[in-house]
């Protein structure tokens, strides 16, 4: 508590620090809110241009002896108009026009500030010219007068934005419709330029000409990463702007650093944090989602493999599963742990086999159903070659929600088999189709129909398909030789290696 007092409360015993805090809060709020419009309308560069262009206005006001505020707003708006004029009346593009206008205006400002007339004014004590403070801000030197100016400018800007929220929103989002329903888009654009100039002039004291654009853009950009609606974006931006202003101000007080630079740097850090940590869109969130998806895919593959091995009455130890999926044991164990935690798989009491619970079986069937429906869809509707549908369906079954499987099934007219001839489980998880027998074990000269061809390994599948052996094809087993099976297919005799025939299951031909 004592530390808190020393860091945050004690400095406020200085009047200049009170004024500085108030000014920083005001500027942090206004700049951030106006900045949101600047960002969504992609006018960031224009903000920077206007900030530089206020310099000659300040100089002229000092020379002529009127409040610098009006001089600054004047040259700011004039520059914005000039940029628009050049862009409309020549083939010079807007970014180039900005570059020409603001550097010229800035140079004029520097020239006037370094002139003899200015020097005489300074000697008379009429003005206090400190170029460093104009360029980089000096929030610790804000006077009561400055504070009043900032306050009035801020209230004006915020009220205008509040009253014209609807018009400015439409004009920013869809300028064509805004014009179509008769909004004065030109007027709204110039109003925006005026608000922008007012905001920049208000922020001169805290961050200065060079960094003014930072307070416009950085809080808004941070909020843009975090929100989906303009009003929430403005609120979030204001919070970021205020936080950066407070932390930056105290930093500059305690460490005796440039106030403008401190505030901007804190805002920049907040942006970087949001960039990495933003939910949904942040870099970390995306990496996390990718990892989760990978893990999910692995886990689902393991579950399917256990189902498959169980159906074949094979062993289902972790080692067998890992080998069948040709993946490292560590991955398999990791996936199995999640499956056990979810109560889908349990370790058998008698041996090292992993058994599916009834819930696990249900989940496995859902996956198989989704996979086979996708295969059917890709083969029939998307007309993909049969040997490629497995890989594509494998990808889709993991990313598409279960409702899509239902829709697919309806769309496809409730198919019972996938294109490889495998039965598609119903949504209740029932399999009602005869799975067939291995071709190897089929009696000689008995008409058979291919019910199913294993989709892996892919080379064997494509080799069989190339010979016209596809699900639904009628075949007759003629003879077995040492390592070949002789078949009659469409009246022609073919011999295929016995190990290929392992991939084929047949049923009695109808």
């Amino acid at each position: 508590m004592e530390l808190f007092d020393r860091i945050f409360i004690e400095p406020l015993s200085y009047a200049f620090m009170q004024r500085a805090l108030f000014a920083a809060l005001l500027v942090g709020t206004i700049s951030s809110v106006v900045g949101c419009y600047i960002i969504v309308r992609r006018l960031a560069l224009l903000g920077d241009a206007i900030a530089h262009a206020v310099l000659p206005g300040v100089a002229i006001a000092w020379l002529a002896g009127f409040p610098f505020f009006w001089g600054a707003v004047g040259t700011g708006v004039l520059t914005a108009l000039g940029i628009g004029f050049i862009t409309r009346r020549s083939k010079v593009k807007e970014d180039t026009a900005m570059g020409v206008m603001f550097t010229t205006a800035f140079a004029l400002g520097l020239l006037l500030l370094s002139s003899d007339a200015m020097r005489r004014k300074a000697q008379e004590g009429a003005v206090h010219v400190d170029l460093f403070h104009i360029l980089f801000g000096n929030v610790l030197g804000v006077s009561n007068n400055d504070l009043l100016t900032i306050f009035i400018a801020g209230v004006l800007v915020l009220i205008t934005i509040g009253l014209l929220y609807k018009e400015l929103l439409l004009h920013s989002f869809d300028p064509t419709m805004a014009a179509a329903i008769g909004l004065p888009t030109g007027l709204l654009h110039y109003l925006m330029m005026l608000l922008l100039s007012l905001t920049i002039v208000a922020s001169l004291q805290t961050v200065g000409v060079v960094l003014a654009v930072a307070m416009l853009i950085i809080p808004g950009a941070t909020a843009f990463l975090l929100t989906h609606r303009l009003p929430t974006m403005m609120l979030t931006a204001a919070l970021v702007g205020i936080t950066a202003s407070i932390i930056g101000l105290y930093l500059s007080f305690h460490a005796n650093l440039s106030s403008g630079a401190s505030i901007v740097l804190v805002a920049g850090l907040l942006f970087i944090v949001a960039f990495f940590l933003a939910p949904h869109h942040g870099v970390l969130a995306r990496a996390w989602q990718r990892r989760r998806h990978q893990h999910l895919t692995q886990m689902q593959d393991i579950l399917k493999k256990i189902y498959e091995l169980t159906e074949r009455k094979a062993e289902t130890t972790a080692a067998v599963i890992a080998q069948a999926l040709s993946q490292p044991m560590t991955h398999t164990r990791h996936g199995l742990r999640t499956l056990v935690r979810r109560g889908w798989v349990q370790l058998s009491r008698e041996n090292k086999n992993l058994e599916m619970t009834s819930q696990g079986r249900e989940e496995a069937l859902k996956l198989i159903r989704s996979h086979r429906l996708w295969e059917r869809y890709l083969a029939d509707e998307a007309a993909l070659p049969l040997e490629t549908v497995h890989a594509e369906a494998h990808r889709l079954e993991h990313v598409q929600p279960a409702e899509i499987a239902e829709q697919l099934e309806r769309q496809l007219g409730h198919p019972v088999r996938d294109p490889h001839g495998d039965p598609i489980p119903t949504s209740e998880g029932r399999i009602s189709v005869d799975p067939g027998q291995p071709l190897e074990a089929w009696p000689l000269k008995t008409p058979a129909m291919i019910a199913h061809i294993e989709d892996e390994p892919e080379e064997i599948l494509s080799a069989l398909l190339a010979r016209g052996l596809a699900p639904g094809q009628s075949v007759l087993v003629l003879a077995h030789t040492e390592n070949q099976i002789h078949l009659q297919v469409d009246g022609r005799v073919q011999a295929i290696p016995t190990h290929w025939a392992k991939a084929i299951s047949v049923v009695a031909a109808r």
Binding site: V40, I181, G182, H228, R229
Partner: protein
């Protein structure tokens, strides 16, 4: 004869030294669905924009329901081309639809409950209610187009102008859009659709064929003819006569 919804007389428009539309004269009655067709650069979108006074014209007169454009413009709902919209804009689906009501709200007036209800109803009509709270960029192309149609519907206009509404849109949405547009037409509204895909021509009652000048305006049967199409597309079409149907390939 009913009062014309749009009357265009001798309209000419240029972009710089480039003349896009030359002396277009056309008079369109309400209660129909009109397709505006022509090759790239024929001035299709420009015709819509000029009709709303969004681009300066070199000459010509335009009347909407016998009134000046500025007096009647709120009775026109306009759906821009997809590519002209910034889909990252922080705005929710329901906010976009509500914008249709802005046409009837004066300065400083906030949308009232009745406006929100009308917007919700329009969103329901295009079957996008479940997505009301999504940011507009999270939707698919077809869904985005439906949302913009809902915005136009909520405006309760008398003329609906759509600029290339079927680009990047799925078949189901295309059907839905045509269904809603036909319902509007049956209520006596005028629907104008700029389109480059001639295969949709049969969905319309009337066609406007443009190639800088007006090539033809009339019913589909009057306009969808080889000589007129070739004149509009400057001979770059392949036309197939199949039974009683004419098919145009580009």
């Amino acid at each position: 004869m009913s009062q014309a919804a749009i009357e265009i007389e001798n309209l000419s428009v240029s972009y710089g030294a480039n003349r896009v539309l030359r002396n277009v004269t056309v008079k369109i009655e309400p209660g129909r669905m009109v397709g505006i067709f022509g090759p790239n650069g024929a001035g299709k979108s420009t015709l819509l924009k000029a009709t709303l006074g969004l681009v300066p014209r070199d000459g010509g007169r335009i009347k909407l329901f016998s009134q000046s454009v500025s007096a009647a413009r709120r009775r026109v709902a306009y759906i821009p081309q997809r590519e002209s919209v910034d889909w990252d804009f922080p705005v929710l689906v329901e906010d976009v639809v509500l914008m249709g009501r802005y046409a009837h709200l004066g300065w400083l007036h906030r949308p009232a409950r009745a406006d929100r209800e009308r917007a919700a109803q329009a969103l329901d009509q295009v079957e996008m209610t479940p997505l009301a709270k999504r940011q507009i960029g999270q939707l698919s192309g077809g869904q985005q187009q439906r949302v913009f149609l809902a915005r136009a519907l909520s405006q309760d206009a008398d003329i609906y102008m759509l600029d290339e509404p079927f680009i990047g849109v799925d078949a189901a949405t295309e059907q839905k859009i045509f269904e809603i547009l036909r319902a509007l037409k049956n209520k006596g509204k005028l629907v104008l659709v700029v389109n480059h895909d001639l295969s949709t021509a049969r969905h319309f009652d009337s066609l406007v064929l443009l190639n800088g000048q007006l090539v033809a305006y009339g019913t589909v049967d009057e306009v969808f003819k080889p000589d007129l199409l070739q004149r509009a597309y400057r001979g770059r079409l392949t036309l197939l006569q199949e039974a009683d149907r004419l098919i145009a390939l580009r």
